[in-house]
Structure formats: structure tokens, C-alpha cells
Symmetry: C2
């Protein structure tokens, strides 16, 4: 068996790659939310100065990359590989944001787990001896998601209380073989779990079982417990999905405590922002991780953090054909 | 600089991973084409016994995996990681084909370059010391592609001569750290190139510049010439794209000769099958590689082969918004 594989599917980094820089770009609602103070780069205008929501999304990705590269004092030319993806059909957010970069590029589709999927593959490429410097990039946009997945905004459809609100935001993390920053110590790629949820307006419930599987696998493989970590952050389970995750893990005698948080619950204020079950989208965990968690880890607030990107792997077509919603969760262990 | 990186972006495998098994599943037209004798598993019915084209695509993927795993005498449980993707919105072909597998899974979106993207990442995961056994999987389906990218089939729209015909097919390759088979010696991930082609019915032209960039980069990095290889296979440039690739490389004094072929030109017979500029889709290079090239290499017909997956990274939405079509090409060097 490969030396870097622990137990059933956690991978240990021999020389932990380092996230040397990160940046987030968000929209107005995210700026107005509880984490607003951490988001210095934001757009009042949902078009971000472009003429379509899809182009706005590409632009946010470009800006997140520019900010992260400036912090790392590098340019695109210094990157070996980029891993990027988004929710738009054929991942056009990423394809167009990277079109002029000249960087060697792997396109990903992990739904809302894409940020962590990109971090895992960046870490593997570096620890595997292939690359010195990679970037993981993703985005989502409320307006482009609404019209692609649900209804035209103009229709003004009502949303059930289990629905989540797609975060308008992009994140970029630069991962290097050497340097100052946050180390990626272990990674645990997800497997698909489908518990037969067919309600596209309840994606938290659809994603929770996949998140439970990955977190349990990781804790078993590393012989650790939730209390060994300062923060366990899930991607976008929202209110319903994160309470289901807590319940599911209890049946395996794993108790998530005060150190557990969900990005979708952190980014909006339930009292003043009517987002029902919370935030969602690739940009949710991306902006919370790149804009808030990584900088706070640098400041010493948390030392040892698990981040789990959660994705719902359906499409409007599959749902209309009566299919259920498969979920997946990818995990990275970060430490200062 | 990382030891495994050569020149501007080719990666050398320290212990070349081995493709120990592969399988292709195709549709009726592909079976009737010039490579039909190599495709033992095919479907007369375009629904493959399912009730939608999308489910048919997932089923072909499942069957290709089953065939490849049987040849390798393994089951899904013996895989460390799977890399898969397809053309359907949100990659539902792959998400649903892998839903019940329990395998740790990385979703990819590389458009028609996905098969080679998956082979590169499989090889990196193995040579990087993370995995012993991976699989790369992809598919496309004429009927699901037509209605998603172009028109409902019932509309009966005419297609310009530059258009290509999406291959109905799936491929799976099992990559292992040890074993008998075809070695992956070098890989060269692509970068996006956009030469401002805005005609979605001329994807060969849009993809050719990206293919020229990758092939030139690889030849430069490895100090080899096209004549050093027994076969140079591109993915789905078709008649127009492949002649453009030849022309583009000439300007760099790189001459592609008789050993160059395009999967999109091999899979259909231009005399008896009216596919205009040739075959296309993720399943094009996947079925030609997994069903024909790899088995023929095993038999000794070719020793040293370059395979280049080519992808057009647009969406119908981006095209309707006036965007051009970015292209990318990922390359692997195979040898017996």
C-alpha cells in the first residue's frame, strides 16, 4: 500500500505544502453579513461592472487571483498548475477567468466542494514532487445560480425554508512547497453518498451524509476526535444540513461541539438577512476560508483546523428526470 | 524547481505508472465505423435500456468501468481514487455512474480533454506516492449533447460542414503503480488558448491552437520530434481542426507526418457516415484510446505514443453572450 495513505482513505503529506496567500472577493450581501469586516474586496454592483452575471463571476475569480498573487508577490507566470471550477454549466466561470493566464490548468467539477478539491489536488501535486506552486480557485454568484438552477430572478419565485442562498463570491489560495503560511497536513477526498433526497430545495440534507462519511473516515484514519481540532468548518450544509451532520455523527458516537461551524451559517446573519437555511455555492466555503479562516489562523486564533467542502452533485436535468441528489465532501487538515 | 518538471511544463514520472486495463462502450454508429471491430461492447439502442439519454450515458460509464475492472481482476473496492467527468451540465454522467461505488472521487471538467486530464491526475497521484490504483473515466452521447448544446433532436436542424458529430461512447482506464501494461512516461497539462473563434459549429478550429501549444511545449521540453513517436493521436479536432494543427505547427517548423491521427477522424467513415468534420466529445478519444489504441499497443503495433485530449471550454450561455471559444489540450506519453 502507498506510504502516504492512512487507513481507508486519508493521505498524509510528507512535506506539508503551505498555503502562502489567499484572497476572497464577495458581493454586497456578503459584505453586509457577520464576516463583512474580513472582506475588504467587494462589489456593490451584482454585475461587477460586466454585462452578464456569468462574466461577473469570472471577473470575481480574476480579482481573487490578482489579490492572492499580489500578497504572495508572484504573478500567474510563477504558477506551475491551477485547479479551478465553478457551478456554471461547463464551468465557464473558471474557463474564462483563466483564458488569458497562460497557466497550465486542470478544470474541476466538484459542485460546492470545488475549493477543497482544488486544495487537495494542489497539495498532492506539490507533495508528489510535480509542482512548486499551485493555486486553487472557485466562485459562485447568486444571480447566475438562480437562473441556471431555479428560476429567472424576474419571476420572483418563493423559496421554501429549507432552501439556501447562493453566495456571491470567489476565493483563491496559493499553495507552495516552501514558505510562511498555513500547512496542509492531511487530505481526505470524498466518496459520493446518496440518501435518496429528491428535493432540490433541501441540499443541506442531501449533502450531510457525504460529509458525515468523510469526517468519520478522517477521524478514524488519523485516530483523532473532534476535540483535537480548534475549528471544524463545513462548506455549505446550512442550518438544516449542519444539524443533520451533528445527528448523523452522533450515531457513530462522534460528538461535534462548539468548535464546529458551517460556512453557510457564518456568512449571513439569520436575524437581518433572510437567507432561509443559510449560504451555499462554491463561493461560500471559498470566501469564508480564503477571506476569514486562513487570515485568522495566521493571527493565531486557531491552530489546527479541518475544512470540509461539501457538494451536491445533481443538475436541474437529473432532478426533472426524478433522480435523487448525490452528495460529496472533500476534507483538508490545516495547521499553523 | 521540482525534480519532475522538465522545461516549461512537462512532467516526468519517476516510476512510470501503468495502464493495466481499459475498456470502451460505444453506440451503434461507432460500432458501424472503421474501428467497429475493436468495440466488442456496444448498444444498438441509444437509450441503452434506460429512459433518458443522460441515464444512458451514466450506464455506458458504468459498463466501461465494469469491463475494465473485470479485465484487471479488481473491483471498485480496490481503487484508491477515481477521476471522472463528462460534458453534461454539472457532470451528471459521472456523478451518477459513481454514485453507488463508494470510491473516493475527483470530479473533472475538461470538456473533451477529460480522459487525458484524468490519466494525468491518476499518474500524478500514483507517482506522487498517494495511490496504488486509480481509474480515469469519461463519456459522451450524441443525443444528450445535441439537446444540451444545440437543438432538440426533433427539430431536425441542419448542421454546417464544419460541425462535428458527438461520439456516443464511454471509456475507462485503470492506472496502477505496478503491473503489466502501457506505461505513462511523461504528462503535459494544457493551458487555455483562445484565438477568438466564435462559431460553436467549428470547434476543431477553436481547439487546434491549444493543441499546437501543448504539443510544441512537450516536444521542446523533451527535446524530441514527431518522428520519435509511432503514433501521435489528438482527441477530437476533426478534419478541419487537425489540418489546422498541422498548419500551425509548420510555422514552428514542427512537421506532423503519417504517424499523426485524430480520434475524431478515425472513428467514423467519411464516405459512408455523414458526420461532416468528424467525431467529437469526451467519449471520442476515450473510446478510441481505451478500445483501440491501448489494445493495439499491447499487441505490439505501436511502442511509443502521444495522446492529446482536446477540449473546447465554452458553454451555450457564453456563446450566446458573444464570447469566443477557449481551447485546451492535455497530453500523455505512453510506451509499452
Amino acid at each position: 500500500m502507498s506510504l502516504k495513505k492512512i487507513g481507508s482513505g486519508t493521505y498524509r503529506m510528507e512535506h506539508p505544502p503551505v498555503i502562502t496567500s489567499s484572497a476572497a472577493v464577495v458581493g454586497r450581501m456578503e459584505k453586509q453579513g457577520p464576516l463583512g469586516a474580513w472582506f475588504s474586496h467587494w462589489h456593490e454592483d451584482e454585475y461587477c461592472g460586466e454585462n452578464s452575471f456569468e462574466k461577473a463571476e469570472s471577473r470575481m475569480q480574476k480579482e481573487a487571483m490578482k489579490d492572492a498573487f499580489e500578497k504572495a508577490k508572484i504573478s500567474e507566470k510563477n504558477l506551475d498548475l491551477v485547479f479551478a471550477g465553478d457551478l456554471l454549466n461547463q464551468c465557464i466561470g473558471s474557463n474564462y477567468s483563466l483564458r488569458d493566464s497562460g497557466v497550465q490548468f486542470f478544470g474541476l467539477y466538484g459542485a460546492c466542494s470545488t475549493m477543497v478539491e482544488g486544495l487537495i489536488l494542489s497539495a498532492m501535486a506539490i507533495d508528489g514532487g510535480f509542482a512548486d506552486r499551485c493555486a486553487a480557485v472557485t466562485s459562485s454568484h447568486f444571480c447566475s445560480s438562480e437562473r441556471q438552477y431555479r428560476f429567472p430572478l424576474e419571476y420572483g419565485g418563493f423559496r421554501p425554508q429549507s432552501a439556501q442562498w447562493t453566495v456571491t463570491g470567489a476565493g483563491c489560495a496559493v499553495v507552495e512547497g516552501e514558505g510562511q503560511g498555513i500547512m496542509i497536513r492531511h487530505v481526505c477526498p470524498g466518496a459520493i453518498v446518496d440518501m435518496n433526497i429528491t428535493d432540490m430545495a433541501n441540499m443541506g440534507a442531501a449533502m450531510a451524509p457525504g460529509a458525515a462519511l468523510t469526517l468519520k473516515r478522517f477521524l478514524d484514519d488519523t485516530a483523532t476526535t473532534p476535540s483535537d481540532y480548534d475549528l471544524i468548518l463545513s462548506g455549505d450544509l446550512g442550518k438544516i444540513g449542519s444539524s443533520l451532520l451533528v445527528e448523523l455523527l452522533k450515531t457513530d458516537h462522534i460528538v461535534l461541539g462548539e468548535n464546529y461551524a458551517d460556512s453557510g451559517c457564518l456568512i449571513f446573519d439569520p436575524a437581518s438577512q433572510d437567507v432561509h437555511s443559510g449560504g451555499s455555492g462554491c463561493g461560500c466555503v471559498a470566501s469564508v476560508l480564503c477571506g476569514y479562516v486562513l487570515p485568522e489562523m495566521q493571527k493565531g486564533r486557531w491552530d489546527r483546523v479541518l475544512v470540509m467542502g461539501t457538494g451536491a452533485l445533481m443538475s436541474p436535468t437529473s432532478i426533472m428526470q426524478g433522480e435523487s441528489v448525490p452528495g460529496i465532501a472533500h476534507l483538508v487538515e490545516l495547521s499553523v
